[in-house]
């Protein structure tokens, strides 16, 4: 319990995404190469430069009881639904605070992040203030909009008293949350941590703000083809929404309670670019440093890596910089690594991306299948790597295999997570 280098495993997964209301349907959609992107036909979207997004497949209001849903920002609704699934999937049947729980609340943590926080609550309540007056602003506004709200609500749900945290690093937030959770367990501060990322920013202001940065695809006429990582015609990311959550656990604790183990969560590599507030470093130096740091701080060997769930958001610069970084660090090993850009199907969930892509990476190892990258009609010749295009691909059926999940964020944050079959 006091060892500072404990093995961490994944024992539960949950997802609420543009492809499905749970992890199984999301995985089914990924393997089928299904796009979750559609046209925003709401009136408010009519005059926007971008009128496409990947909304969740199911409205969270259909899942959560209304009195609960109305006190939660949409991002916290997603996180709570995914966390409940992951918690049950890990074999827990009640909050840790209940008698007879297999995990003491003091040994349970929650780390859930988003890139932007409760932005739709903030903007909607500002509309209420202007249109209906002071008295009508909801008393739940602050606990709804604060960026730590999804983490706090998940912590309340499962009864986490070892610490509830929210690392914020734009589109790397979800991955950083999972990395933080791995460290909490590895260093002995907790035995179980519910961790992931969530985002709900499909609202005119964030859409216009990202569009004015020239970061988003304006392929409004072909929503399902708009997110096209690695394709020569890619013109920016497509905004997605949803959440992905995993239950991480010390291997010892999982074995003691006889839990089903998906894979090992080996560790993380972290770096920062010190280059530009929003532009990726074009040579991939910062990303390369994160991968190197992963290799230095864990026992991962480049030869065992067979799959990368890439950050690849479908932006002209970012996609190739990431491939350059992988090539720089992994060298010829990259030739036998199947790279998938699942954002081609889910869109870019910003702080939620690291969450759902960790779920996708865990399931890729579990099923030994790399999901496809869709919409690569004309592969960018600068992409010097083995991209899994159009159809899913079997990963080696025998022996232990390792996969990486990359996430990078505005601000120059680079996070690489490693997972390995048991």
């Amino acid at each position: 319990m006091t060892s500072d280098n404990r093995t961490v495993v994944v024992t539960g997964i949950g997802a609420f995404t543009p492809l499905g209301a749970d992890a199984a349907s999301t995985w089914e959609g990924l393997v089928a190469g299904r796009s979750g992107v559609s046209t925003l036909d709401e009136e408010w979207a009519a005059d926007l430069p971008v009128r496409i997004a990947a909304r969740t497949a199911v409205d969270p209001g259909e899942v959560l009881p209304r009195p609960l849903a109305r006190k939660l920002d949409r991002s916290a609704q997603f996180a709570l639904i995914a966390a409940r699934e992951a918690w049950a999937d890990a074999g827990f049947t009640a909050p840790a605070t209940e008698d007879g729980s297999p995990i003491a609340p003091e040994r349970l943590g929650a780390v859930v992040a988003s890139g932007i926080g409760g932005v739709t609550t903030l903007l909607d309540q500002y509309d209420v203030l202007k249109e209906k007056g002071v008295r009508r602003v909801s008393p739940h506004t602050v606990p709804m909009l604060m960026p730590n709200s999804p983490a706090a609500n998940v912590g309340l749900e499962v009864g986490a008293r070892a610490g509830v945290h929210t690392p914020v690093s734009a589109c790397a937030s979800g991955a950083e949350a999972i990395g933080y959770a791995i460290e909490m367990i590895r260093t002995g501060r907790a035995d179980v941590v519910v961790a992931g990322g969530t985002e709900a920013a499909v609202h005119p202001l964030p859409i216009v703000a990202f569009a004015n940065m020239m970061a988003m695809s304006k392929n409004n006429d072909h929503p399902q083809q708009a997110s096209r990582p690695y394709d020569k015609a890619r013109d920016g990311f497509v905004l997605g929404e949803g959440a992905g959550v995993v239950v991480l656990e010390s291997a010892e604790h999982a074995a003691a309670r006889g839990a089903r183990v998906y894979c090992e969560a080996v560790g993380q590599g972290l770096s920062s670019d010190a280059h530009h507030i929003a532009q990726p470093e074009p040579t991939g130096a910062g990303v390369a440093r994160a991968i190197e740091q992963l290799l230095e701080s864990t026992d991962v060997n480049p030869a065992e890596v067979v799959h990368v769930n890439a950050h690849a958001t479908s932006t002209p610069q970012g996609d190739t910089a990431e491939i350059k970084a992988l090539r720089r660090v992994l060298g010829d090993h990259l030739d036998h690594i199947a790279i998938s850009a699942t954002k081609s199907m889910t869109g870019h969930l910003l702080g939620g991306a690291g969450g759902i892509e960790t779920v996708a990476t865990v399931l890729a190892l579990h099923h030994r299948v790399a999901p496809p990258t869709i919409n690569v009609d004309d592969l960018d010749p600068e992409v010097d790597a083995d991209i899994v295009i159009a159809e899913p691909r079997a990963l080696p059926a025998e022996g232990s295999i390792t996969a990486l999940n990359n996430s990078f964020g505005f601000g120059g944050h680079n996070v690489v997570l490693a997972f390995r079959t048991i």
Partner: protein, 80 residues
């Protein structure tokens, strides 16, 4: 002006909307906090909704005295 029965019925609808408690469970002797799952934040919502519905002002200082549904009904009857 609304009768006591009408006010109770209206409050029951408000509490149902905000806390999800069945309207028939909202009775005069019930405590908002202990019986009806209305915490201090949700109580603010109940008060604002009641003010609009019954055209009454319930000052912030008064809210702490409204412990039961009956307290709220009596206040509204006396002040609307």
């Amino acid at each position: 002006m609304a009768t006591q029965e009408e006010i109770l019925e209206g409050l029951a609808e408000i509490v149902n909307e905000i806390a999800g408690i069945p309207a028939e469970d909202v009775q005069l002797d019930k405590s908002f906090t202990d019986d009806l799952d209305v915490d201090s934040l949700s109580m603010v919502e109940v008060v604002v909704a009641a003010e609009e519905r019954f055209d009454v002002k319930i000052p912030d200082d008064e809210v702490k005295n409204l412990k039961t549904v009956g307290d709220a009904v009596n206040y509204i009857v006396a002040n609307s």
